[in-house]
C-alpha cells in the first residue's frame, strides 16, 4: 500500500539532488554558481504537494519561484539549465496535460533535461493509478509512455532515492524525467 511521505523528507531529497547536480555541472566545467542557494523549484502550486510547498517557503537553501503556468515552469527550468543552475518542476497531473507541447518542444525536441515532480491528486490509496476512477490520474502514466518519458512512482519514504535518480536520468538522457507523487504529502 502506498504511504504518504513527510514534506521534510522530500525537501531533504531535493537538497541532495541539487548538490549532486551542481557537482555534475562543475565536473563539466561550469563556472561557480552566482547564487547562495542549492537549486530552484519552479512551481505551479499543487494541492497534492502543498505540505512540501509550505516547507519550501521556510527553506533558504532552495529558491521557489511560483509560475503562472506549467509551460513557463518547464521553459524557465530549461533556461536555468543552460546557465548551469539545477531545477525541479513541481506541478500536478492537470498541469502536465496543460503543458504537453512544451514538454515536447523544450524537453524532448530541445533535448533539455527537465525533471518533474507531478502530484497525482485524487489518486486512490487502494487502486493502481492506471485503474483510477479519475481520468486525471488514469491517463498520466499512459501519456508519459506515449512520449517515451521515463517515470516512476513515489509510493513511500523508501522511494525517495527516485528523486535524485530521475534528476540524474534527465541529465544523462538530455530530456524529461518524471517522478509521480503517489499520495498527498504529509
Amino acid at each position: 500500500m502506498p504511504e504518504s511521505i513527510p514534506a521534510s523528507l522530500i525537501v531533504d531529497a531535493l537538497k541532495d539532488t541539487f548538490r549532486e547536480a551542481r557537482a555534475a555541472f562543475a565536473a563539466e566545467g561550469a563556472p561557480p554558481s552566482r547564487h547562495g542557494h542549492l537549486g530552484w523549484v519552479l512551481s505551479v502550486p499543487d494541492t497534492h504537494q502543498r505540505t512540501v510547498l509550505t516547507a519550501l517557503d521556510k527553506e533558504r537553501a532552495i529558491r521557489t519561484l511560483t509560475c503562472a503556468t506549467e509551460d513557463e515552469a518547464v521553459t524557465i527550468a530549461a533556461g536555468l539549465y543552460l546557465g548551469a543552475e539545477p531545477a525541479v518542476v513541481m506541478i500536478q497531473h492537470a498541469g502536465l496535460y496543460a503543458s504537453v507541447n512544451t514538454l515536447r518542444g523544450v524537453a524532448l525536441d530541445g533535448r533539455l533535461p527537465v525533471f518533474y515532480l507531478v502530484g497525482l491528486l485524487s489518486r486512490e490509496r487502494d487502486r493502481d493509478p492506471r485503474a483510477s476512477r479519475h481520468s486525471m490520474v488514469r491517463y498520466c502514466e499512459p501519456l508519459l509512455d506515449v512520449f517515451g518519458v521515463p517515470h516512476a512512482r513515489l509510493e513511500g519514504p523508501d522511494d525517495l532515492g527516485l528523486i535524485p535518480e530521475y534528476h540524474r536520468l534527465s541529465r544523462e538522457r538530455r530530456g524529461p524525467a518524471v517522478v509521480l507523487v503517489g499520495l498527498e504529502t504529509a
Partner: protein, 190 residues
C-alpha cells in the same frame, strides 16, 4: 509611425555587447543574419516561450544581460509570464516586444485586440520596473543604450511594420537543440 523590424534588430545587435538574446518567430530570420553567434537561442517549436526561456537564463546568469526579442502574438500565448517575470524581478532582463498586430507567420491574421493591445501598460501593471512604447527608429537609437542598461525587468514595445521574412519564408538556421547546446557550452566557458 512604425519601425522596420530589421532596422530595430540591427540597432540591438550593435548595442547588445555580450548579452544573451532570445529571438522568436519573425525576429528570428533577420537575427540569425545580423547576429550569427552562439550567444543567442531562438525559441522555435514552443511559441510563446521566449519570455520564460529568457527569464530562466536571466536568473541563472545575473552577471549577463538577457534580451528577449518577442512577438505580440507570441507574448499573448503566455501572457502570464509578465507576472511571473515581475515576481522574479530579474534585474538583467530586457523584454522587447515587436508589435505588428498580426500573426505574420501564419498569414497575417489579426491578433486578439489587434494594435490596441497595450503591452507597456500590462507590463507595468504586472510589476515590471518600467516600459516604453517606441515607433520611431531615431528615438530607439537614442534611447537604446539607457534601455539596455536599465535595471530590469523592463519592457519595450516596438511598433513595427511586417518583417521582410518569416520562419516560413526563410527556413533554415540551426535547430533549437543545437542552438541550446551551443549557448550552454559558451556559457560554461564564460
Amino acid at each position: 509611425m512604425a519601425i522596420k523590424p530589421e532596422e530595430a534588430l540591427r540597432l540591438i545587435a550593435g548595442a547588445r555587447g555580450d548579452a544573451i538574446c532570445v529571438p522568436t518567430m519573425t525576429t528570428s530570420p533577420a537575427w540569425r543574419t545580423l547576429a550569427p553567434d552562439d550567444l543567442s537561442v531562438t525559441c522555435i517549436g514552443f511559441m510563446g516561450g521566449a519570455s520564460a526561456l529568457g527569464l530562466g537564463l536571466a536568473l541563472a546568469r545575473p552577471d549577463r544581460r538577457v534580451i528577449v526579442l518577442d512577438g505580440d502574438g507570441s507574448l499573448l500565448m503566455q501572457l502570464g509570464s509578465l507576472a511571473t517575470i515581475a515576481g522574479a524581478r530579474p534585474r538583467n532582463l530586457v523584454h522587447v516586444v515587436f508589435k505588428n498586430g498580426v500573426y505574420h507567420t501564419s498569414g497575417s491574421q489579426e491578433i486578439p485586440g489587434g494594435l490596441a493591445v497595450d503591452f507597456v501598460m500590462m507590463a507595468r501593471a504586472a510589476g515590471y520596473r518600467d516600459g516604453w512604447s517606441l515607433g520611431d527608429l531615431d528615438d530607439l537609437r537614442r534611447r537604446l543604450p539607457s534601455i539596455l542598461a536599465a535595471e530590469g525587468p523592463v519592457l519595450v514595445e516596438l511598433r513595427t511594420t511586417l518583417a521582410a521574412e518569416t520562419p516560413v519564408t526563410a527556413r533554415g538556421g540551426a535547430p533549437f537543440h543545437e542552438q541550446a547546446e551551443a549557448l550552454r557550452t559558451r556559457l560554461r566557458g564564460a
